[in-house]
């Protein structure tokens, strides 16, 4: 178990270093950052000034190490557009995005796990077909379009829900559905196929031969085994949702970090964009690490050697 823990932790650290390099390089390779920061209309002196000011004239590796060592201490630089520390800008917005992400994940789990289980224990019935339909439609519907339709129908036509902003919990309902619905198919399919596989396995036959009640077999033996791979996928899905929040936050004018990223891209506020890419990647790495640990906790084959 300790070896497993160390291996996973080591991998997480390596991935973090790799993503930090990529988010650092992303800005450099796609054009001269000095020009981007100074603006298209800047004179060559202004560009030179920016280049020196930000240290763009030094070797890349030095720039990276300096940026990374400051990032570790929580200093992600300053936004040249807003003249505010990036950490502060993100700190003000992250709460909204995390709330949205967790709500969307909960919505997806509450919808997909029961449906997946029902579809697996009643294959080829109407409930299975309903689950399949929901998952097929969910995968094909662009989440931003789904969001817009909800705004038109629920927000404007029936005036049930507020259409933009983040003031009350009601503001989060439509964004939660729009974002969570997209993750539902993946989870539901995994629950369904996992349950079908476990239900056909030898140890379920043993449980039946022991005369256990059907409900107990389903809950104690089938779901317990089928849920293990689902846990891993949940972390991945939450990471995807946070990444996809840029689209949904834009649609619903939720001022989270996705929205911040979009606005910052529009005004070439590179340090902010860079920091958000890094932050979302690190959140993903932490989530997968935690899910690995949870996996080990749930699966004795990993936990007990």
């Amino acid at each position: 178990m300790l070896i497993y823990f160390c291996k996973r932790l080591g991998l997480a650290v390596l991935v973090t270093i790799a993503v930090s390099m990529i988010s650092f390089m992303m800005i450099r390779v796609s054009g001269d950052p000095a020009i981007a920061l100074a603006g298209e209309a800047a004179t060559s002196e202004e560009i030179e000034f920016v280049r020196e000011q930000y240290g763009f004239d030094r070797p890349l590796i030095v720039q990276y190490l300096e940026w990374a060592s400051r990032a570790i201490r929580g200093d992600l630089g300053e936004s040249p557009y807003m003249n505010l520390p990036v950490t502060e800008m993100i700190g003000n917005r992250i709460g909204v995005t995390m709330t949205l992400g967790i709500c969307a994940l909960s919505f997806a789990v509450l919808l997909s796990v029961p449906l997946g289980v029902l579809a697996a224990i009643r294959p080829n019935t109407w409930i299975d077909r309903l689950a399949l339909t929901i998952s097929v439609i969910g995968q094909a519907m662009p989440s931003f379009w789904f969001g817009l339709i909800m705004i038109i129908v629920l927000g404007v036509k029936f005036r049930l829900l507020p259409i933009s902003g983040a003031e009350t919990p009601a503001h989060f309902i439509m964004p939660t559905i729009a974002l969570g619905y997209y993750a539902t198919p993946a989870i539901m399919r995994l629950v369904r196929s996992g349950m079908l596989e476990v239900l056909a396995s030898d140890h379920i036959r043993t449980a039946k031969a022991k005369g256990l009640r059907w409900g107990k077999i389903l809950y104690k033996h089938a779901l317990r085994n089928a849920i293990i791979p689902v846990v891993a996928v949940l972390a991945v899905q939450l990471g995807f949702m946070l990444g996809g929040s840029i689209v949904i936050e834009t649609v619903f004018a939720l001022h989270g970090i996705g929205h911040l990223a979009w606005v910052s891209i529009g005004r070439s506020d590179l340090p902010v964009v860079q920091a958000i890419v890094l932050l979302l990647s690190i959140i993903y790495v932490v989530l997968t690490f935690l899910s690995d640990m949870l996996n080990a906790f749930l699966d004795p084959r990993i936990r007990v050697k």
């Binding site: 988010s23 796609s30 981007a36 995968q139 979302l280």
Partner: protein
């Protein structure tokens, strides 16, 4: 095996007929509603794209401000002149939908080819050689999955400048993960089959084994993944264009049309509905086709 059905025990009353794989596949195709529906939708969109210049009633770029925001034909103010109405610049929606199919399909196929190239070659190497190569490739997948794809794509496209070529390259370089995962797992499985060591023993080169012994056995799965990935890429492109960082105006990208229609959606919801439905049909078609192909080609039958 040939198409000819085999049977034995004739006259025993214990007659069993085994149809050939090709025949099973065709029978499954015709029986799978999802596959047929997906194929129909996909064909519909392909026809729209191919025949766009012939069937479009107007030039998709023709602006006519006197004809702006005309509602579709089924509404009171609609007319057959503009069956799906016009947008805020007076362009014909139907023609833009037809030409938009070209953009979606072009981007979908090109990105898929780039991604398939990267993913298949890396997956082949990782699966065949294992060890350190496999570790490096697995690490690449983990890093790639950690990056928020939409955000990175939007940022890079914004920095380089949005155009269709840029979108294709950027997305193609971001969506190879599933190709690697599937190819790698598949190669590991195939590698242990007797015919690969047999080829090795016969002195075949690694390249020969990869191309002639392993690749043909991957094709079914590759086609399935490619189909599903086209759908995924089209979805990503739409999101990018919707955010204004993908295909640039005045091109009739469906995602862009939704973004443009968003301004007017409270009064003219059809501006958002029409390109959205087109997107939905295409992506649904690709997904059904991909899932259908998987069920149809899987040797053990599946669901």
């Amino acid at each position: 095996m040939t198409d000819q059905a085999q049977s034995f025990d004739k006259g025993l009353g214990l007659e069993v007929v085994f149809p050939s794989p090709g025949r099973i596949m065709r029978r499954r195709m015709l029986k799978s509603k999802g596959f047929l529906l997906g194929l129909t939708m996909f064909t519909l969109v392909v026809l729209m794209a191919l025949l766009a210049p012939l069937i479009s009633p107007h030039d998709p770029y023709d602006q006519d401000l006197s004809q702006r925001l005309i509602t579709p034909v089924w509404t009171e103010q609609g007319s057959w002149e503009y069956p799906l109405g016009t947008d805020y610049l007076g362009r014909d929606n139907l023609s833009r939908v037809f030409y938009g199919a070209r953009i979606s399909l072009l981007i979908g196929f090109s990105c898929m080819l780039i991604a398939a190239g990267i993913g298949t070659s890396l997956g082949l190497l990782a699966g065949y050689f294992g060890g350190i190569v496999d570790m490096v490739v697995s690490f690449m997948i983990t890093v790639r999955l950690a990056l928020p794809a939409v955000l990175v794509a939007v940022a890079v496209v914004a920095l380089i400048g949005g155009s269709m070529d840029v979108v294709i390259v950027v997305l193609g370089c971001l969506v190879w993960d599933r190709f690697i995962v599937v190819v790698r797992a598949n190669v590991q499985q195939i590698k242990s089959m007797d015919y690969v060591p047999a080829a090795k023993a016969a002195g075949c080169s690694v390249f020969w084994i990869l191309m002639r012994e392993i690749m043909p056995n991957l094709m079914n799965n590759l086609v399935v993944i490619a189909t599903l990935e086209i759908g995924r890429v089209i979805l990503l492109e739409a999101a990018l264009s919707f955010l204004g960082m993908g295909v640039q105006p005045p091109m009739p990208s469906w995602g862009l049309m939704i973004a443009e229609g968003k301004e007017f959606m409270l009064f003219e919801p059809y501006l958002v509905m029409i390109p959205g439905v087109a997107l939905f049909i295409l992506i649904l078609g690709m997904n059904l086709l991909g899932d259908g192909l998987r069920d149809v080609t899987s040797p053990e039958g599946g669901a």
